[in-house]
């Protein structure tokens, strides 16, 4: 379990002071995949770097598996770090070492015997699906493969916690999906707690159970992903969940815009709109739609434009409520 209490971090540089984290309180359960999402500069990396004390917090505590990391000596902290490993956007592999030796690296630091380390590294290559790349150098691998090696390396010391800072941000959507699958698989198989830092809602949506939304050094919103996905409250959350709606609103003209959120209770968006026209006589204009069908159920959101008079809007809202979708005026 990771507990972050009243955590603040202020950077003081000669020309300015940045409050990167302001009184953060979070707790992450053992074995869960926890997301931390926010726009660039929100303080996500600073937060994750405070979790393994790469960055010393200005105030507050970080407790991982009952150990207050802030209270440890340098030597004790180094030892603890082998249980909290990290992967990065840039992979950060050692370019002059082959893949096998990269995976052996944290074991070398931990003082594990060479032969034992090699054996473990070979197992890990197997786990990440690259058993034939042992002798290859990182430069000879694709981005996705390099991240797999980085994951294997992060797993070498049998950590309890895996921190992923924008680990898929440099990868294409297909590769991203594969890496996320691998992370999910590792979480399930090895029971490792995973913290996923990202600026992409799609990443959180696909693997996280709970998420914290960060904005300007603060946690703007926190909770179950499904909850936040269907009912974003804060402005940042809305902007992350519905990235295109701001532009849509510009286009609206004098129509009333209504956002419809599908939570898997419907099977298709089209009949809903058609039915509204048939039953209520309201013709809606689809301004924006981002939906997908997962095993027959519809998820996502859609923005429709309807004539802007109070009575029509009221009837439309009532109709949508009947239909078991969430609707709100934009």
């Amino acid at each position: 379990m990771i507990e972050i209490k009243n955590l603040s971090k202020t950077f003081v540089t000669p020309d300015n002071t940045v409050e990167a984290l302001k009184n953060i309180n979070l707790s992450v359960n053992d074995g869960e995949i926890y997301g931390i999402i926010g726009m660039s500069g929100a303080g996500k990396s600073t937060l994750v770097r405070c979790i393994n004390m790469l960055e010393k917090p200005t105030s507050g505590t970080v407790i991982v598996n009952g150990v207050d990391l802030g209270s440890l000596s340098d030597r004790e902290l180094r030892k603890e770090r082998s249980k909290i490993t990290m992967i990065f956007q840039g992979f950060n592999l050692l370019m002059q070492r082959n893949c096998l030796k990269n995976i052996c690296f944290p074991l070398e630091i931990a003082g594990v015997k060479k032969a034992e380390a090699k054996k473990r590294a070979e197992e890990l290559l197997e786990i990440v699906g690259l058993p034939d790349k042992a002798k290859n150098y990182p430069a000879q691998l694709s981005g996705g493969q390099q991240q797999r090696i980085a994951i294997a390396r992060a797993l070498a010391t049998e950590p309890k916690v895996l921190l992923c800072d924008e680990a898929t941000s440099a990868l294409d959507p297909n590769t991203t999906a594969q890496i996320l699958d691998l992370i999910r698989d590792i979480n399930k198989r090895l029971g490792i707690t995973v913290i996923v830092i990202t600026h992409q809602m799609s990443v959180v949506e696909s693997i996280c159970e709970r998420v914290a939304i960060m904005d300007n050094g603060e946690v703007a919103e926190e909770g179950k992903v499904s909850e936040i996905f269907s009912h974003p409250k804060s402005l940042v959350a809305k902007r992350l969940v519905f990235p295109d709606s701001a532009e849509t609103a510009e286009l609206a003209g004098d129509e009333k815009l209504i956002r419809i959120i599908f939570n898997g209770h419907n099977s298709s968006a089209r009949p809903l709109i058609a039915e509204m026209a048939l039953k209520e006589g309201i013709t809606a204009n689809i301004c924006y739609a981002s939906t997908k069908t997962i095993s027959g159920d519809l998820y996502g959101n859609m923005i429709i434009g309807i004539p802007n008079d109070e009575e029509t809007v009221k009837r439309a809202m009532a109709f949508l409520k009947e239909e078991n979708v969430t609707a709100e005026e934009v």
Partner: protein, 236 residues
């Protein structure tokens, strides 16, 4: 007046060839071992100093108090700005202390090292700074100690650059050995100066210089080749 024809007269040529046979092999060997030893000692002193300049700086993996870093910086700059010819004379007391004498081939190694190690330290510093800070941070996130970061990450990761830079240092030391001929250091420099400058035997000087040039070429080619050969950042 010395004209080209004089330099290449049959008399001058046969005399030069004689000297070439008798003196040059020994001189070349002296130049070689002085360069090798001076390079080795410069590396022994310069490498840790270069590492310290990087790890001890603000934001380094083991920051040292700023005044200490400042003093190191100034000392290195001073040593590097003294012309070698003057430095040789200035370090006479030290040379006598270490080598027992101030003239001769072996004693000439002392000023060479004093002149070269600050240069090597700077080159090491610039190579180490090429290492991606994120990779160093990754090693820290795995619990690597500063010593392990230096020996297992920083130095191996910039080895190609270290080799290229050290090659530059070796060729510079080689050219300095020629200067140490003036204060009695042996080698090709001495031959060139003694025969060419004092005794007007220009052909001998030319031979000596050609051999120096060849040595530089060989060292540079080998260094460049080695740096390329060990670099794993290419796709093949």
């Amino acid at each position: 007046m010395y004209i080209i024809a004089d330099i290449f007269s049959s008399e001058a040529v046969s005399e030069a060839l004689d000297i070439l046979k008798n003196d040059i092999p020994k001189a070349a060997w002296e130049t070689f071992y002085v360069t090798a030893l001076a390079s080795l000692f410069s590396l022994i002193l310069g490498l840790p100093l270069g590492v310290l300049l990087v790890t001890g700086s603000k934001g380094g993996i083991r920051p040292l108090p700023a005044p200490i870093m400042r003093i190191l910086d100034v000392i290195i700059n001073i040593l590097r700005s003294i012309p070698f010819l003057i430095l040789m004379i200035m370090v006479f007391p030290l040379t006598r202390l270490i080598a027992g004498s101030v003239v001769g081939t072996v004693p000439s190694i002392v000023p060479l090292v004093i002149a070269a190690f600050p240069f090597v330290a700077r080159l090491v510093e610039s190579s180490l700074r090429e290492v991606d800070p994120e990779i160093i941070e990754t090693a820290q996130s795995m619990g690597a100690s500063p010593w392990k970061i230096v020996t297992r990450v920083m130095i191996p990761e910039c080895m190609p650059s270290l080799i290229s830079n050290f090659t530059i240092a070796v060729t510079t030391i080689l050219s300095y050995t020629a200067m140490s001929g003036i204060i009695g250091g042996g080698g090709l420099g001495k031959i060139a100066i003694n025969y060419g400058y004092y005794r007007y035997k220009h052909l001998v000087m030319i031979f000596a210089v050609i051999i120096l040039v060849l040595m530089v070429q060989i060292i540079q080619t080998a260094g460049t080749f080695a740096a390329k050969k060990i670099d794993k950042r290419t796709r093949h």
